[in-house]
């Protein structure tokens, strides 16, 4: 199981929990499991989400491996100027 940190306004979809656990070995599985377990997260995933895994931010790479002890934090999709 991977522990995933959920930001404040997204906690409405996790029953207020700041951290949830899902079974995932990579980024794609993480997002799929999250959307299944917490359908309220789906609109934000559609709007765009970035995932910080052990301090590095990933936008799209599905098969980025996630270890059970990885620090995983959801972020709104990062853009730039």
């Amino acid at each position: 199981m991977v522990r995933v940190a959920i930001w404040g306004s997204l906690r409405a979809a996790t029953g207020g929990r700041a951290e949830v656990e899902v079974e995932a070995n990579n980024l794609r599985e993480l997002l799929d499991r999250l959307a299944e377990a917490y359908p309220g997260i789906r609109p934000q995933i559609d709007r765009g989400i970035s995932v910080s895994i052990d301090g590095l931010v990933y936008n799209d790479s599905w098969f980025t491996p996630i270890r059970p002890d990885s620090e995983v934090v959801l972020l709104p999709r990062i853009v730039g100027g």
Partner: protein
């Protein structure tokens, strides 16, 4: 990217990276030969112009183009009716480039013409009759959030917005951790302040421009100034119902962007006109159009509350940020909320962001989008707390600074970061302790930006004469071709002059993310190094064939293939040129390429120091001295890294002092020109001193971090802190234009 790359910076001695060669596009740019967006023409070309709404908010009841179409010389007129249905993700972009049922801001495009000359096109615009029903408008963010405010779009708020709030609130965002109330209770001093910042524009000197042509078969060519021609291709193809393969976009030289050229404005319109007219159409914005109808950044209204102990420990931070993003959801408030406390290691932090629409042009990205405003507010309050508690401003920042492993205020733990290195450098710098005169003050502030990577393609050809042609897909906005050339030459072990880097058109490479997010030197550099390594592998293989030894027994060093292990010394090393000369004989042309979604960008921190003097009788502010300390990871071309630091600092100075969008009560922009939109001029400024800190980014083979955006984050706060110290009164509104400064001084004196 694969994360197997170990940071090589500390072991690797660079030969070219870190030097200051002349940029490859330099001579063209100092001789006037470089071709920018408006510098291209085509046979039979028409001139395209846009008709824009004079109203801030109006329903379009009808558009009659008959008279314009009848004018001799007019070849095409388009309105929103000429664009078909588009996917949801493109709808706002389409309705921004051509108003649909409502004009949502002063300057909103409602129709466009293509004609044989500019003067005919101008007359044609005057002949288009638009039937407007003028509606009430709102341009201020706090006003737009009120329940009785005029509503721009019904039913567009997302699920994050609590019921019963204004329909102009598109999104609510919140992050944080710990217990802020407990944190405030533990503080010796708690300070809450409100701030406002005006909307600013990127202010690139080159107006948007493009040249489009399209045949009846749907094959189209587009030349334009953009930060991302692949983005332009994908977006225009979607808006016009074209196949991406049929639309070839070539990026011109680009005269500045700073985020403002990361979307489309004229390009789809020019293509639609070209399709209808069957002739090439050139469109160039006037400066007035650039200000009224491209993408400035948000105006904001922000509340900050911070608790501090007497020893300087920050016990809690809270922020409520309200950003309007213009007529369509696009404010960068999330990033403001995420970035504003990033410099601090906080046990208790909460930030709330409100993304609001208003009758202004749709916001585009502007250098570290959203971060400068939130940071300005936070750093102002930290500064005032230091003042109240008699604490040194740098010591307090050092005490609370984010370090390697700190749980960032926006969630993740930081990897290797250089914030404390910038603070220590500032503390040790003579600027920090230099004496100040009367009416002078010193300001300090820190800033942060995420940086990112994204889709990137690079192709590298080893030419038969031993030179190298490098193709990449990111418009060069500030010297990136020099950086790519340097990294290619470094990796290949050949002189800088042997490599030429070209920005390829969209037909030549796979998808490339826009030149934004401070990504290019990081991501394209990474792909360049990987492409070079692929070419090296091939070249080692060719040498192995020639020598009749195993490929694994050859290694690459200093631009040569050399036999290794038991074969060491058996054969004279073969240079790149020697291998290239016989490429046809050894298996054919040699090339390397790399396609990647470059993840793993490193965040970047900066600390800025500034001295300002205030004329207490007029409120005039003079910037006396400015020093930037920023972590670049590894500075590939230090002169252009310094340039990014200096340019960002000066844009921030402009934002702090005089730049602002000024709307009249009629909702029309009152200052759409460089006369009254006051960007800094040369005589306003001192030299901008820079100190490059290099804390390598583990995610890049050379340790590179993006540097382009962080530099605009601290200056709003640094200048505000300096001016407040010099004026003897806290300024809480940007810009700190002389009337506001004088009013604050006089109010404090009363």
């Amino acid at each position: 990217m694969a994360l197997d790359d170990k940071p090589e910076l500390e072991v690797r001695v660079f030969k070219i990276v870190g030097s200051r060669p002349i940029r490859p596009d330099g001579i063209d740019k100092v001789t006037g030969r470089a071709r920018f967006g408006a510098d291209m023409s085509a046979p039979g070309m028409l001139v395209g112009l846009v008709l824009r709404s004079p109203h801030a908010h109006a329903r379009i009841r009808g558009i009659d183009t008959a008279k314009a179409e009848a004018l001799p010389g007019v070849k095409a007129v388009v309105t929103s009716a000429d664009f078909g249905e588009v996917s949801d993700d493109l709808r706002d972009i389409l309705h921004n480039v051509m108003a649909h049922d409502k004009a949502l801001y002063d300057g909103h495009a409602v129709a466009a013409v293509a004609a044989s000359s500019a003067s005919v096109a101008k007359r044609a615009l005057a002949l288009i009759e638009v039937d407007y029903e003028v509606l009430p408008h709102v341009t201020d963010v706090d006003e737009a959030m009120k329940l009785d405010a005029p509503v721009l779009h019904e039913g567009r708020s997302d699920e994050t917005v609590p019921a019963g709030m204004s329909a102009n609130i598109m999104h609510r965002f919140e992050y944080g951790h710990g217990d802020v109330e407990a944190g405030f209770a533990a503080a010796d001093e708690v300070l809450e302040r409100s701030f406002k910042t005006a909307a600013t524009h990127q202010g690139y000197i080159e107006p948007h421009a493009c040249l489009a042509s399209m045949g009846p078969d749907g094959q189209a060519d587009l030349w334009c100034c953009t930060q991302g021609h692949y983005m332009v291709r994908n977006t225009c193809a979607g808006l016009l119902g074209l196949d991406a393969s049929q639309l070839k976009v070539t990026a011109s030289e680009i005269g500045g962007g700073f985020g403002g050229k990361t979307t489309v404005f004229l390009e789809p319109v020019a293509l639609a006109l070209a399709r209808k007219a069957g002739r090439p159409v050139k469109m160039v914005m006037s400066r007035d159009e650039v200000f009224r109808a491209t993408g400035p950044t948000s105006s904001t209204s922000i509340d900050i509350k911070i608790g501090m102990k007497r020893d300087g420990t920050i016990t809690a931070g809270w922020a409520d940020l309200r950003y309007q993003g213009g007529a369509f959801q696009s404010s960068p408030v999330q990033f403001g909320a995420m970035a504003c406390f990033a410099a601090y290691d906080l046990a208790n932090v909460q930030a709330i962001g409100w993304d609001v629409v208003a009758n202004r042009p749709k916001a585009a990205a502007y250098r570290a989008p959203g971060a400068p405003m939130g940071t300005y507010a936070v750093e102002s309050v930290v500064d005032e707390l230091c003042e109240k508690l008699g604490l040194d401003r740098l010591e307090v920042r050092l005490k609370n600074a984010s370090r390697d492993g700190t749980k960032a205020a926006y969630g993740p733990r930081f990897g290797r970061i250089g914030l404390t290195a910038t603070l220590e450098a500032a503390k040790a710098h003579p600027h920090y302790t230099a004496p100040l005169g009367p009416n002078q003050g010193r300001g300090v502030a820190c800033g942060f930006w995420f940086n990112f990577g994204g889709d990137t393609c690079v192709s590298m050809s080893i030419n038969n004469d031993g030179t190298v042609s490098l193709s990449e897909g990111n418009p060069d906005i500030g010297g990136s071709r020099a950086a790519m050339t340097m990294m290619a030459a470094e990796e290949l072990g050949i002189p800088y002059e042997r490599v030429r880097t070209t920005i390829a058109d969209t037909s030549a490479l796979g998808q490339n993310e826009v030149t934004d997010g401070s990504r290019v030197t990081f991501a394209v550099g990474l792909a360049t190094i990987k492409a070079a390594r692929e070419a090296i592998t091939i070249m080692c293989g060719r040498a192995a064939k020639i020598w009749g030894i195993d490929e694994d027994a050859v290694f690459w060093e200093d631009g040569h293939a050399k036999p290794a292990g038991p074969n060491a010394g058996k054969f004279p090393p073969m240079s790149l040129a020697e291998i290239a000369a016989v490429a046809s004989n050894t298996g054919g042309p040699i090339a390397g390429h790399h396609e990647v979604n470059a993840e793993g960008a490193g965040v970047s921190f900066a600390t800025h120091l500034v001295d300002a003097e205030v004329d207490p009788e007029t409120g005039a502010v003079k910037i006396l001295r400015y020093t930037v300390f920023q972590d670049a990871g590894k500075a590939v071309h230090p002169a252009y890294v310094e340039g990014q630091f200096q340019g960002g600092a000066v844009q921030g100075i402009g934002w702090a002092l005089n730049e602002e969008y000024i709307y009249g009560p009629d909702g029309r922009l009152q200052n759409p020109g460089f006369l009254d939109y006051r960007i800094p001029v040369a005589s306003d400024l001192p030299m901008i001193d820079t100190v490059i800190i290099e804390v390598p980014n583990p995610g890049h083979p050379y340790g590179v971090r993006g540097v382009g955006e962080t530099s605009i984050v601290p200056p709003l706060a640094a200048v505000a802190n300096a001016v407040s110290a010099a004026a003897g009164v806290r300024l809480t509104e940007l810009p700190m234009s002389p009337p506001k400064v004088l009013e604050a001084i006089d109010a404090a004196g009363d």
